[in-house]
């Protein structure tokens, strides 16, 4: 940690001093701000340009998803989870369906697992592409945004053909998949992989060795490995700080153990490392998809799940490696058709907590870069 008590509350009691009198300036970023990726309000306490402390005010997108869950059946709640991290809706659905399947003690059949893995990894690529475009735009490079969005279209087309929706896909059901792969699914995915392979090269050409990009992202928003673990940060942020941990490898779910892929890690835990880690993750996701699409087994796509889902009394916690980090579902069942409690452990919420630690001592322009590099989605932070 940088400070003696970095998580001490911000001293915001200076309403009667104008900013011309003291050296400290309190600036409010958001909730409407081009760079805060949603409705996030960050109150910055500045000394000139240096940030002394931040306070995040969240909850602008709080929709009470966990309360809603208590009034819906397990199947009815499935579409709600897409709306949390709306950029990676397929991952959310995967986590929830797998959590309920664990509670029911069923396993999705292999074919369903393959389809799930392919779609989830495609969604990971799409989510990282969106991250790259918006992050680069915040730092000033306008062009990668358009490139990544154009390339993302191909993935969204596949989603649309598969389940009818591009964004909030509701692709999976409890027990497996509802929809069989459409005719030409494998061909589309393979075409996408061939299309995508040179695209990462395009993005990297624009940014990775660019001197301005390096200066804007090196040593910006540094968080060390132990700090990251203590703050509960997960996902690419944790991996860029040097901790080699990915739930897909540590506690594999949905036959990830069958695929060969690497976990990229960084060294310094700065923005540049997080950028490199996510770029490499896109490549590894493409690798997983290639292995998966070449070997989808035949078989059923839905396990035997009762029509009315009434799990036994008990609790379960299941987490997956969403593009943003560890997405967990803690479900308490009381034996009825509606869950007693659904708790979503949102990776963006916990990662956002680390913002304060990461921007102390940085300049205002870096706050924007760090918010971008944390890759938060307010739908998930607020639920």
């Amino acid at each position: 940690m940088n400070d003696s008590n970095p998580l001490s509350p911000l001293d915001l009691e200076t309403p009667d001093k104008t900013y011309l009198d003291s050296n400290e300036l309190i600036i409010n970023m958001g909730p409407q701000h081009p760079a805060t990726h949603g409705v996030l309000r960050v109150i910055l306490k500045l000394d000139g340009e240096k940030v002394l402390g931040t306070e995040c005010v969240i909850g602008y997108l709080h929709r009470g998803v966990e309360k809603i869950a208590e009034n819906r059946t397990y199947t009815m709640f499935n579409p709600y989870v897409d709306r949390m991290d709306y950029v990676a809706a397929v991952s959310n659905g995967l986590g929830y369906c797998q959590a309920v399947e664990k509670l029911l003690n069923v396993e999705a059949p292999p074919r369903a697992n393959y389809i799930r893995v392919i779609l989830t990894e495609l969604n990971r690529i799409a989510s990282h592409q969106l991250w790259l475009g918006t992050h680069a735009l915040d730092i000033g490079a306008m062009t990668p945004l358009f490139y990544t969005f154009r390339d993302r279209e191909e993935i969204l087309k596949i989603f649309e053909k598969y389940c009818g929706a591009r964004l909030t896909t509701h692709a999976f059901r409890i027990g497996g998949c509802l929809y069989e792969t459409y005719a030409g699914f494998e061909k589309d995915v393979k075409n996408f992989l061939a299309f995508f392979a040179p695209k990462i090269g395009e993005y990297e050409e624009l940014l990775t060795t660019n001197r301005i990009w390096l200066e804007r992202t090196r040593n910006v928003g540094v968080i060390s490995g132990p700090d990251a673990i203590a703050l509960g940060v997960t996902g690419p942020v944790l991996r860029a700080s040097g901790v080699k941990w990915d739930i897909r490898k540590a506690q594999p779910y949905a036959n990830y153990a069958d695929f060969n892929f690497e976990i990229p890690i960084g060294k310094n835990g700065d923005t540049y490392d997080r950028y490199l880690v996510r770029m490499e993750e896109m490549r590894q996701s493409a690798r997983i998809i290639e292995q998966a699409v070449n070997g989808i087994p035949e078989g059923p796509i839905m396990a035997k799940v009762p029509k009315v889902i009434k799990p036994a009394v008990g609790e379960i916690y299941h987490s997956i490696e969403a593009p943003k980090g560890e997405l967990g579902y803690f479900i308490v069942s009381d034996g009825s058709t509606q869950p007693y409690r659904v708790r979503v452990r949102p990776p963006s919420f916990v990662n956002l907590q680390a913002l304060d630690v990461m921007v102390r001592g940085m300049l205002v322009a870096d706050v924007v870069a760090v918010i971008g590099t944390l890759d938060i989605v307010l739908g998930e932070v607020d639920r």
Partner: protein, 430 residues
């Protein structure tokens, strides 16, 4: 009046030097109109080129391929509500864009489009340009101050700090180019813009290539510093949307904002013209040494006409590729007419270029040389304009402290070093 008009014709010097106020006024009006048209064209080009860099099309609807978009933008800005913040200092708020505009346009008095195609030829031309263009900072600071809101204020202060720091490097680079002008026969240098180009002509080398690589380094320093001077990417933090809303012109809307935009583009053209004059041989045609001789002179004299004919051909191609649908009839006609106009201009230029050496008519010869001079000058400036747009599309922007660090810790020492080495080499050689 008529004598004033006629007495200037056939003159080999600019109207200012010849003392002819009428022609000076005419030139001023031509330049004013030309720069305004250039700014409008730049606006269109920026949107189209940026769009094509970003895999999209840009304006396509307002006029064929968006050619009338700048006019639509201008009309929109003119009819917008003029909002002045209540707490703003009204007089200063009004004056700020005017100052910026004045500073940006006054420099065109000495920009040499040709040996006699300039409004005037002050013997301190380059000093005048650097000095007056620095007045633009005043406009920005007053704009930020008068807005009475802390985002514009921060943006204005940053912008002024940035401009001032890069001025130093710019100035030193300019001085090293001036030193090179003194390498001519009688050993005297000059600050006059036209004489600088003449010096390059007499020394048979563009200062870009003189004392290689010193001229090149000085040129590169100037090229980078001029991007920072004009607050363009990658040095556009003062107007970065994602950080400070819109910097010093946040509170300006409508016509006042368009004046700032006009001043910015005019300043871009002005500093590019400094670069072109000092290092790229001004109005001289390219490859004067490599491809020398009257044959090549004649070939290069066809370039203006051929350029316009080429543009006309592109426009014709565009017309043919227009969708064959009722909705596009007017656009197709418009584009075709535009192609026709371009083609006519091209033909006219070509005719002049061909007829001039053949007919030995004094008037035609002078017209042809004048056209050539202006053409090459404008082409070189157009290359710089394209580079400005290219930089904006490609690179992220510098953070403010990094920007200042580059200006003071990198550019200043290098330009100082180049200056000293140029001086030493110059003394040794002469």
């Amino acid at each position: 009046m008529l004598t004033a008009f006629m007495s200037y014709l056939g003159s080999e010097v600019s109207p200012g030097v010849a003392g002819n106020q009428l022609w000076a006024l005419i030139y001023i009006l031509i330049i004013f109109g030309g720069v305004s048209v250039a700014v409008i064209a730049m606006n269109w080009l920026e949107r189209k080129a940026l769009a094509h860099f970003q895999v999209r099309l840009g304006p396509m609807r307002v006029g064929p391929h968006g050619l009338l978009q700048p006019i639509a933008d201008a009309v929109k800005l003119l009819i917008k509500e003029d909002i002045i913040p209540t707490e703003a200092d009204k007089v200063v708020f009004w004056i700020a864009p005017v100052i910026g505009l004045l500073a940006a346009f006054t420099v065109y008095t000495v920009v040499p489009f040709g040996p006699s195609q300039a409004v005037s030829d002050m013997n301190i031309g380059i000093l005048f340009m650097l000095g007056v263009s620095s007045l633009g900072v005043l406009g920005i600071v007053t704009a930020g101050w008068a807005s009475n809101s802390h985002y514009p204020l921060i943006g204005a202060l940053r912008s002024s700090a940035q401009m001032v720091s890069y001025e130093v490097a710019m100035g030193l680079a300019v001085v090293s180019a001036i030193l090179m002008t003194s390498m001519n026969k009688d050993g005297t240098g000059t600050l006059s813009m036209i004489e600088i180009v003449r010096a390059q002509q007499d020394q048979h080398v563009w200062f870009l290539f003189k004392f290689f690589p010193l001229g090149l380094i000085a040129f590169v320093i100037f090229a980078i510093a001029m991007v920072a001077e004009t607050n363009r990417a990658p040095f556009d933090l003062p107007e970065a949307e994602s950080e400070l809303t819109a910097g010093f012109h946040t509170e300006y809307s409508g016509l006042r904002w368009s004046l700032f935009m006009l001043a910015e583009y005019a300043a871009m053209i002005a500093v590019s013209s400094i670069a072109v004059t000092l290092w790229l041989g001004g109005w001289l045609r390219p490859f004067p040494n490599l491809l020398s001789g009257t044959a090549f002179d004649v070939i290069f004299s066809f370039f203006p006409g051929l350029t316009f004919l080429g543009l006309a051909a592109i426009a014709v191609l565009g017309t043919m590729r227009m969708p064959k649908h009722n909705y596009f009839r007017i656009q197709t006609l418009g584009l075709g007419a535009f192609a026709g106009v371009l083609g006519l201009i091209g033909l006219l230029l070509l005719v002049i270029a061909i007829a001039a050496p053949i007919s030995h008519n004094g008037f035609l010869l002078r017209a042809a040389t004048a056209l050539n001079n202006v053409y090459w000058f404008v082409v070189k400036i157009a290359v710089f304009m394209y580079l400005f747009i290219w930089y904006r599309a490609t690179w992220p922007r510098y953070r403010f402290d990094q920007l200042m660090a580059v200006g003071w810790k990198v550019m200043l020492p290098i330009s100082l070093g180049v200056l000293i080495v140029t001086a030493i080499v110059g003394v040794i050689v002469s």
